[in-house]
Symmetry: C2
Subunit: 341 residues, 2 copies
DNA sequence: TTGTAAGCGTTATCAC
DNA sequence: GTGATAACGCTTACAA
């Protein structure tokens, strides 16, 4: 009978069993082509018969590589980032990397803290969401030489590698569309713009598009709400309480839009018959909930894959375009023209 | 001018600057109370002035602890697990642990592979979803002495630590409710039951509850679909195509229920006026989408917190109840009684 | 309370 | 192709 707790097999055990040195085992396991076929076979045989599992920490310490990529997101609780995360995961997995996830609930200090934790964990690279970050974050990235990509927004300053969308242009696009349909009374249920440049850009795009046609967006028709369904409901409710009802409501994203549509239903209003609700990101769900929801499609899965590949290439020392902007697209569903008021 | 790439500060650098040994620095940083206040201060001062960040791999290698918990989920793409993940994260974060996430798209082989990767990464503990797993998984957990918890289901075999729900009882509960309202023609849009005991238990609970009132569930009124909105739509569509329409459709979870409701809308049916759609899990969204959606509430956030605490306590060597069942609750919204057919 | 020094399990640099 | 062996950066007995 063997031990009850046989300590996990180590490289040396495999070496002993295969009658080779630890160096050879190490090579066989990581660079099979550098080892004679016969030796390779012996090593593999020994490893599997011992149920050998490499010790990640030791490997990381010696090789100075963890094969781990970190991602810091605002939240894991809404589905907006789900596609991106899934795509990141899949791409990294295929390359033998693991994804370490952290979130901060839109709090800049927490963001700095979790980012530090990830760096301490030795991530080989980092995916950050957005371009606005605590200065400490950039300092730590710099000091530790950690490769990173900013995502979901495009860094106009040109100082950081990024893979993003042109949130402002997307907002202009959807607003123009509504204007072309004849809408003149607008409201916006925006996300919280403080330290969130994606939200800022969307709002500013809407403002700019309206202004260029001589239309204003009075303060009482702009409300900022957290990106939740409830936020969308409350936001729209406040807008309706503000005075003459708008014919078009642009929501900061589809989560807010879904909430806004629910509020309309609760008030007996039809969408888009009585009021047109539009959003951003084109979540499958939004379309399902209201087949008349026009929105801007952001290729979020592509974003994840792109960000992952960007980092992977840099880690392999390959040259890469450091800044890129992914195209967004207007998705029109059952739009209704409005008579000019 | 200093170097362009000053290598990251190590423990020894801090020790030198603070004029103490590396052992003292190590203690000061991890067990502050074991060090004289004055020394502690010097060390902290030195560390922060150097921007010292501990090397996680070295720490893990020496201490044999990574302060990382892994979680293996079926998918990150639907919102069902979002609450659980968020709660896990928060609880672990508060205890100084980090969460390493992996998913497998309901594929048992992939599940085994990613689980192995996590063990190789040296996770201190593991959260697994469900009770049905590849035998290799249990073998690896055993061989490596990795503490784990099964979640979302209750392990009746009594062989594994678990924090779960009684999916079968929940299914019985909601079915009884519908029966009490007078429904007699039922259909079920279930999740894929193969190697998913949560789905199996829900289906079997529905069957049992119906059977105890002498009602059957013919094969053509049971369809299995992936947990997506589209799955829900298609599932309900197939049910309607099967013959006389049911008055009550029980969906495997709220994602399917949302899809099913959309299908009803598309067919001009009102819910629950024409047909009653019910689900499981009580996602906020489901209620928002249809305020008449009766469902079973599963305390998913509590589950995450509970699972995390369970592992944390075991890691601290404390005794814990190894198996527990969290209560589920019927949430009735605008139910409509049906005349007995 | 603090210091000394022996690991922790790999990888990587050399010789051979 | 393969084998010694010195790192890798930290923790932790054990000694002082």
């Amino acid at each position: 009978m063997t031990d009850k707790f046989p300590r996990a097999a180590r490289l040396a055990d495999v070496a002993r069993l295969a009658k080779v040195s630890t160096a050879t085992v190490s090579r066989a396991l990581t660079l099979p082509q550098k080892v004679k076929a016969r030796t390779l076979e012996r090593v593999q045989q020994a490893a599997s018969s011992l149920g050998y599992v490499a010790h990640g920490a030791a490997r990381a310490l010696a090789s100075r590589r963890t094969h781990t990529i970190g991602a810091v997101l605002p939240t894991l609780e809404n589905a907006i980032f789900a596609n991106t995360i899934a795509a990141l995961q899949r791409t990294l997995d295929a390359a033998g990397y693991v994804l370490l996830l952290a979130s901060h609930d839109f709090d800049a200090d927490i963001e700095a803290r979790v980012t530090r934790t990830l760096i301490e964990r030795g991530v080989d690279g980092l995916v950050l969401l957005g371009t606005t970050h605590h200065p400490d974050i950039y300092r730590m990235l710099e000091a530790n030489g950690v490769p990173y990509v900013l995502t979901w927004a495009f860094d106009e300053s040109g100082n950081h590698p990024c893979v993003g969308f042109d949130n402002r242009a997307a907002a202009v696009r959807i607003t123009d569309h509504l204007l072309d349909l004849g809408h003149r009374r607008f409201a916006m249920v925006s996300g919280i713009t403080a330290s969130n440049e994606r939200a800022q850009e969307r709002l500013s795009g809407v403002r700019a598009a309206l202004a260029s046609r001589g239309i204003g967006l009075p303060a009482q028709y702009v409300v900022e709400k957290p990106y939740t369904h409830t936020g969308g409901r409350e936001g729209l409710s406040e807008v309706f309480g503000a005075g003459e009802a708008p014919t078009a409501v642009i929501c900061g994203n589809d989560v807010l839009a879904i909430g806004a549509i629910a509020e309309c239903h609760a008030r007996g209003l039809t969408v888009p018959g009585d009021v047109s609700i539009t959003g951003f990101d084109d979540m499958e769900l939004a379309a399902l909930m209201n087949p008349a929801l026009t929105t801007m499609r952001f290729p979020t899965a592509e974003l994840g894959a792109y960000a992952a590949n960007h980092l992977l290439m840099r880690l392999e020392g390959k040259a890469v375009d450091l800044r890129c902007k992914l195209p967004t697209e207007l998705v029109v569903r059952g739009s209704t023209a409005k008579p000019v008021a």
